[in-house]
């Protein structure tokens, strides 16, 4: 089962996409709910808000602990911001620190600059991916273990570090399931998703 953090944001959109991929998915708002999951998605939402809500729900350590011991994790926009080691311009802002990158929030601008882009993502092949960027972040610094999987205007907008995936954009707002399938495959390949005991 894959969990979608459900304290705020576009949670149902991710649950629906996972359902269409044929995997079980459920909302996570507490540590016991997290413990039943084999993978975790942090959806789109407001990063400032969600970080506060994670602190109030006592979820920061449990999430960090599970991801460091191999649980597949994917952050879309807000989720990638919270996963970053560091936020440009906000050096003191606490994060989950799961991904060795520096992320700049609202980097493309305010809502007037939000856009749909046909994005080339080599690991998915063609056609180009319909990427939806909403007040989106980009990545300014990439650590040594981090692979850049897609760029826009020369800025990394999709990265992977082992079991941790981050995208600046929102695949859950499109009908294209290729990135959800890619995430599920990361988990299956490592044995984290689809273990017989966990699906029982």
């Amino acid at each position: 089962m894959i969990g979608v953090l459900g304290v705020q944001g576009d949670v149902i959109e991710h649950l629906n996409a996972l359902d269409r991929c044929g995997v079980r998915a459920s909302v996570v708002k507490s540590a016991p709910e997290l413990s039943r999951c084999e993978g975790l998605i942090l959806p789109g939402g407001e990063s400032t808000t969600v970080m506060k809500l994670l602190q109030r729900c006592d979820l920061i350590e449990p999430i960090a602990q599970r991801v460091r011991t191999g649980m597949p994790f994917w952050g879309t926009c807000m989720g990638m911001i919270l996963a970053a080691r560091e936020l440009a311009g906000f050096p003191d802002q606490a994060t989950l620190d799961l991904l060795d990158v520096t992320v700049r929030r609202n980097a493309f601008g305010r809502q007037v600059a939000s856009a749909e882009v046909k994005l080339s993502i080599p690991v998915l092949g063609s056609p180009a991916f319909p990427a939806v960027f909403i007040r989106a972040p980009w990545i300014e610094r990439v650590g040594s273990g981090v692979e850049v999987l897609a760029q826009l205007d020369g800025r990394p907008v999709m990265v992977r570090q082992g079991n941790v995936l981050g995208t600046s954009f929102h695949p859950e707002l499109t009908g294209d399931l290729r990135l959800h399938r890619y995430f599920i495959e990361i988990g299956k390949a490592s044995g984290a998703i689809g273990k017989p005991a966990a699906t029982a």
């Binding site: 305010r110 856009a115 046909k118």
Partner: protein, 296 residues
């Protein structure tokens, strides 16, 4: 690179990112910082909160743009601002300034007593109020990317928001079970485009996000509206008309996040060392003072 701004997906998408959250009315950069610290997902920049607009009377217009700018500079969460119904030049100015969302709001004095703004031509998204499904679908047809109940702003009384939320959701449920040959007549009765009526019948929900607004003043009010099907909450006067805004703001956020868990609502309510705003009996307001009746 093939880049498209201002698309339906991008405009409705920002509203989707706000789901499960609380949007708070603020009148100063200091208020905005309190709201952000409490966990608001966005702020509505205003010169006066609805309770004060109600008390002051006269004509209420778009806020001073310098004030809106200072609020935009004070926080990193999205900033919304209100325009008068039908005042598309105020909306053009706010888009130029760079606010993230426009509320074409009955709380301000309407500029056009017949028509709303043509919202689909704008790059930034609009939210509009509605009392029933027909009104919601007319606003969506004009290009609104988000709908909120009207409630009765500045009243501190939740009864109108409950009425509007129940009306919208009951009408949606009814559409999902109607035989399809009845949808044309139903669209006529609703005063809404047939394509949207068919879409709602198929989806079982609006094609845009639906928030509650108008009269929320306690954590339990927020939990009530979320359980009645709101996807998030606008709080206008409820926070900065209470005696302890920071505590009320945080308590309403907590109750919205965990709306289905009465334990959290109890803890949030107990955390309040202050009193909620004064309320008004909506039935005793003269018709000329009812804000929800503006725009149709």
């Amino acid at each position: 690179m093939d880049t498209k701004t201002g698309t339906l997906t991008v405009k409705r998408g920002l509203a989707q990112m706000l789901k499960g959250g609380v949007i708070m009315d603020v009148v100063t950069p200091e208020h905005a910082a309190i709201a952000e610290e409490a966990g608001a997902v966005a702020v509505m920049a205003l010169e006066r909160i609805p309770a004060d607009i109600r008390a002051a009377g006269g004509v209420a217009r778009m806020s001073d743009l310098q004030l809106v700018q200072r609020i935009m500079d004070a926080v990193t969460i999205p900033v919304m601002a209100k325009v008068r119904i039908g005042h598309f030049a105020e909306a053009q100015a706010l888009q130029e300034l760079g606010v993230d969302f426009i509320d074409e709001s009955e709380v301000l004095t309407p500029a056009d007593d017949k028509y709303h703004c043509a919202k689909e031509g704008f790059t930034i998204p609009f939210v509009c109020g509605a009392r029933d499904l027909g009104e919601a679908l007319r606003r969506i047809a004009e290009g609104a990317a988000m709908i909120r109940s009207k409630g009765e702003a500045g009243s501190g009384n939740i009864v109108e928001a409950v009425r509007h939320m129940r009306s919208i959701n009951d009408s949606i449920k009814e559409l999902t079970v109607l035989p399809k040959e009845e949808l044309v007549a139903r669209a006529r009765d609703l005063g809404a485009p047939l394509e949207l009526v068919r879409e709602v019948a198929r989806l079982g929900k609006l094609p845009v996000v639906l928030f509650c607004a108008g009269g929320v003043s306690t954590p339990a009010d927020a939990a009530l509206m979320m359980q009645l099907g709101a996807e998030g909450i606008f709080v206008g006067s409820g926070i900065f008309k209470s005696s302890n805004p920071a505590a009320f703001a945080k308590a309403i956020v907590d109750a919205t996040t965990h709306y289905g868990d009465p334990k959290v609502v109890v803890a949030a309510s107990k955390s309040l060392s202050g009193t909620a705003m004064e309320g008004l009996d909506v039935r005793k307001l003269p018709e000329s003072e009812l804000l929800a009746a503006r725009g149709n």
